[in-house]
Symmetry: C2
Subunit: 98 residues, 2 copies
C-alpha cells in the first residue's frame, strides 16, 4: 500500500473507531465527535478559546441536521485543518529560505 | 503526534514532495499530478479505463483554471477517493455481519 493509500485508510479507520462506540455504528454523534477531537486533535482543541468548540463544529459539519456526522460530513473538518496546517507549512518554508 | 495529526501531516508532505519537483514549488502542474497519481494511487489509476484520466482529474480539480493545483484544489481528490473507499468499507462490514 502506498503512503497516500495508507493515509486514506487511516482516516476511515479513525472515523469508524469512534463512530462505532455507541448508537449508529456508521456515524458520529456529538459525544463521539467530542471524544475524537479530544483524543485525535488535542492541540487544535487547546488553541480554541470557545468552550463550545465541539458544539460549533458539530453544527457546522452536520449539513443534513440529523445530529449525526457520516464520513462525508466529517471530511471537511480534516480538509479544513489540513489546509490551515499547509498554509503554516508554506509560510514556514518561505521563512526558512530567507 | 496523534494518528489523525500524522495523517494530515502526511497529506501535506506527499503533496509538497511532488509539488517541488519542477516550476512553482507550491503547486502541482499536470506532469507532477501525473507522477503523484502513478506513484501514490496506482490501484485507482489501473481501475480507470479512460487513458485521459489524469487530464480529466486535472481539469476537474483546477477550479481557477491556472493549470496548477494548489493544496486546496488537490484536497477534493483525496476526499473523493476516501469517501469512495469508505462506502466500500461500510458495505464490506455489513456483509461480514450477515
Amino acid at each position: 500500500m502506498t503512503e497516500l493509500e495508507k493515509c486514506m485508510e487511516n482516516l476511515i479507520m479513525i472515523f469508524h473507531r469512534y463512530a462505532k462506540e455507541d448508537g449508529n455504528g456508521k456515524t458520529l454523534n456529538k459525544k463521539e465527535l467530542k471524544k475524537l477531537i479530544e483524543n485525535e486533535l488535542p492541540t487544535f482543541l487547546k488553541s480554541q478559546k470557545n468552550p463550545k468548540t465541539v458544539d460549533c463544529i458539530m453544527k457546522d459539519l452536520d449539513s443534513n441536521r440529523d445530529d449525526q456526522l457520516d464520513f462525508e460530513e466529517f471530511l471537511p473538518l480534516v480538509a479544513g485543518l489540513s489546509l490551515a496546517c499547509e498554509k503554516c507549512y508554506v509560510l514556514h518554508e518561505l521563512k526558512g529560505k530567507k
